[in-house]
Symmetry: C2
Subunit: 143 residues, 2 copies
Amino acid sequence: MAISTRFSVGIHILSLIATDEKMTSDLIAGSVNTNPVVIRKIMSMLKKADLIEVRPGVAGARLARPLSRITLLDVYHAVAVVPDKELFGVHAAPNPDCPVGRNIQSTVTPIFELAQSALEKVLAHVTLDDIVSEIEQKEASSS
Amino acid sequence: MAISTRFSVGIHILSLIATDEKMTSDLIAGSVNTNPVVIRKIMSMLKKADLIEVRPGVAGARLARPLSRITLLDVYHAVAVVPDKELFGVHAAPNPDCPVGRNIQSTVTPIFELAQSALEKVLAHVTLDDIVSEIEQKEASSS
DNA sequence: AGTATTTGTAACTATATTGGTTACATGTAA
DNA sequence: TTACATGTAACCAATATAGTTACAAATACT
């Protein structure tokens, strides 16, 4: 299964907030093309991860830190698209009476961790600033 | 969501076949600790991907190529844990009337592809031979 | 003060995937 | 021909996703 679109939606939301702090969940939902509650739920995750500041009743949101200090990895973790650091599932209880069964987990897990951290490293090296700049650039060159 | 355990089970299955070609789905299920049908379904995928040779009615299976020429990436693709090359889901129809909406997909997709290929590169560089050798080493040193 | 607007959740839905299970047809070999 | 294996179909429970309705609580504006 693919990693949830919550991740790309999260990036979308933050990009919008970056360009306009008066973005309501309704407006954001219009840009993402989904339901406002979906947006609010994701924003709630972004808030819990201290990426944005939102207050009940008051329209819009603010980034909790500068764009250049929010990485895609931060967003990735914030929207919890992957169960606490375990991208790869490993079958739980292989037979300890079998040479393969009793060693497969400890053999495979470090490789999975390598692969996972290779992926996360890429995400960690891209900031929201990169995203927003790229979007602005595309807008400028298409005018 | 985590990547399906079909992947780690697939590696488990192939490791068993590598050490004993007379492994039936029942025996393998005993080592993996699951139902034989689960094993047969995964073996069916491994067969379709030309990683193993199995014949209905005849017990066991053979590797279709040497251990050293089967990578974890081959297995990963074979068991289809990820929808055809798209590890990251991207929300489908953002609003084209919004600067962010109309550019988010094309901005984010290449980054996702980078991250995905970083992950796959790690998997491509590990062969089943590495896995089996590691297991044998652990067995030898624990005796 | 009171109304309108917004966030924050709870609760529910439809859909899909996972992992497991039973049942059985088909193929092979002793 | 008996026994055993593979190959699938069909089904199940549990879970995740994405969307939706409904509504409480907080805030802002007139």
